[in-house]
Symmetry: C2
Subunit: 233 residues, 2 copies
């Protein structure tokens, strides 16, 4: 009945190391990274990265896929991403410490729009969420939930398969605190499926290999038609 303290402590211990924390934060982009990439990213020896990945996988935070001589790892599931978001939400937003043109433009792109594990975030994510709320698809007054209209909109207008929106272990709609905007954006299954459709339809596209995304011209038109959203860059 009681959660034993040792369980909690060993879970927390997984994130209590700066290198492992950096690995998890990097994986928050939802993609799979190789062990070598993560070693380089965290600036530790490959052997050290191996040990960290072993612990994270054993602890259930990461899952791995061996492919040839590569070891790909990614966050185990959305609940892990959610956990990391929640923990991160406790900090002050970092001062924008970008130096140099490259870093600054990359930063600006991230603030404009990005993926947050498997859903949309940044100004784009918040704008879509707000527009959905304004259109009566989402209810934020008493929590964070899709309205009946919102459910229909996802299936009929966006073409999400109703089976994908069945209530399951993961909540259908969840608010996820946006670091850059300090506002909530849509997460949960609905947020993931919405993001998926946006990519499928070519409304958003990744910028380079990072987690930043941009709204395409098709996307701009679509958002204007569907949600009355304009002025999003």
């Amino acid at each position: 009945m009681m959660t034993s303290a040792s369980d909690l402590a060993s879970l927390a211990a997984l994130l209590a190391d700066e290198t492992r924390a950096a690995i998890c934060l990097a994986l928050l982009d939802g993609r799979a990274w190789t062990a070598g990439e993560l070693a380089a990213h965290t600036r530790v020896a490959p052997s050290t990265a191996t040990e960290h990945l072993n612990r994270l996988v054993d602890g259930g935070l990461l899952i791995e896929r061996r492919q040839g001589r590569h070891r790909y790892v990614q966050l185990a599931d959305a609940s892990v991403a959610h956990l990391l978001e929640d923990l991160s939400a406790r900090f002050e937003p970092r001062q924008d410490s970008a130096r140099g043109l490259r870093a600054v433009t990359a930063n600006a792109a991230m603030q404009r729009g990005r993926t947050c594990y498997d859903h949309l975030a940044g100004r784009l994510g918040v704008a879509v969420t707000d527009a959905m709320t304004g259109a009566g698809l989402l209810d934020q007054t008493g929590g964070f939930a899709l309205t009946g209209t919102g459910l229909c909109w996802l299936t009929d207008t966006l073409g999400v398969r109703p089976a994908d929106l069945r209530p399951a272990k993961r909540p259908l709609a969840r608010g996820c605190l946006d670091w850059t905007e300090r506002r909530q954006h849509l997460a949960g299954t609905a947020g993931a499926k919405l993001c998926e459709k946006f990519f499928d339809n070519g409304w958003v596209a990744r910028i380079g290999s990072g987690r930043a995304v941009r709204l395409t011209t098709t996307g701009q038109a679509a958002l204007r038609d569907l949600l009355g959203l304009s002025g999003i860059d």
Copy 2:
């Protein structure tokens, strides 16, 4: 913009020690404990407990109140409680390892009803949540939110001050996973205020000094009248 890994690591490090984890879990009952009580509870020397409390307070997870020769500590706010719940939710429900009559009855009482930081949990909490959902006060199909009717019910029927239900930093309604029931019960501001009213009205009462609560006979009648709930012990 990016949360630095060191922030995340140092936050996690606070919980990465079994003794500190046990302290936080004990405080999940929402009450304030003295340093000595926590030292005894975790079976460490008072000096050791002091060090742990210092770290937890410095880290913002706990707040303290000095009162005479006592040092009372409690969780800093609901978001900390939420964090602990979320982390704990990742574990299998513990095998009920209670030994002896005292432990078994205490355990049974906890499963029947208890407080979870500042709201109701256990079979009682889940039953109330389900009844509210059935009565159209709560919407769980598209997330977890109060309906308009639900808001009115809280203010008009239960007498919660509308000002207390204004959307703030903390969400109005949230689902909180119940360890014993493996179901969600109502948390958030609404859950806290509802729990408060239940105590004020004498519908529930604490059993002894722990976090277990029992439904009074007045409470049974009230729940039957208001929510059509019966058969709750």
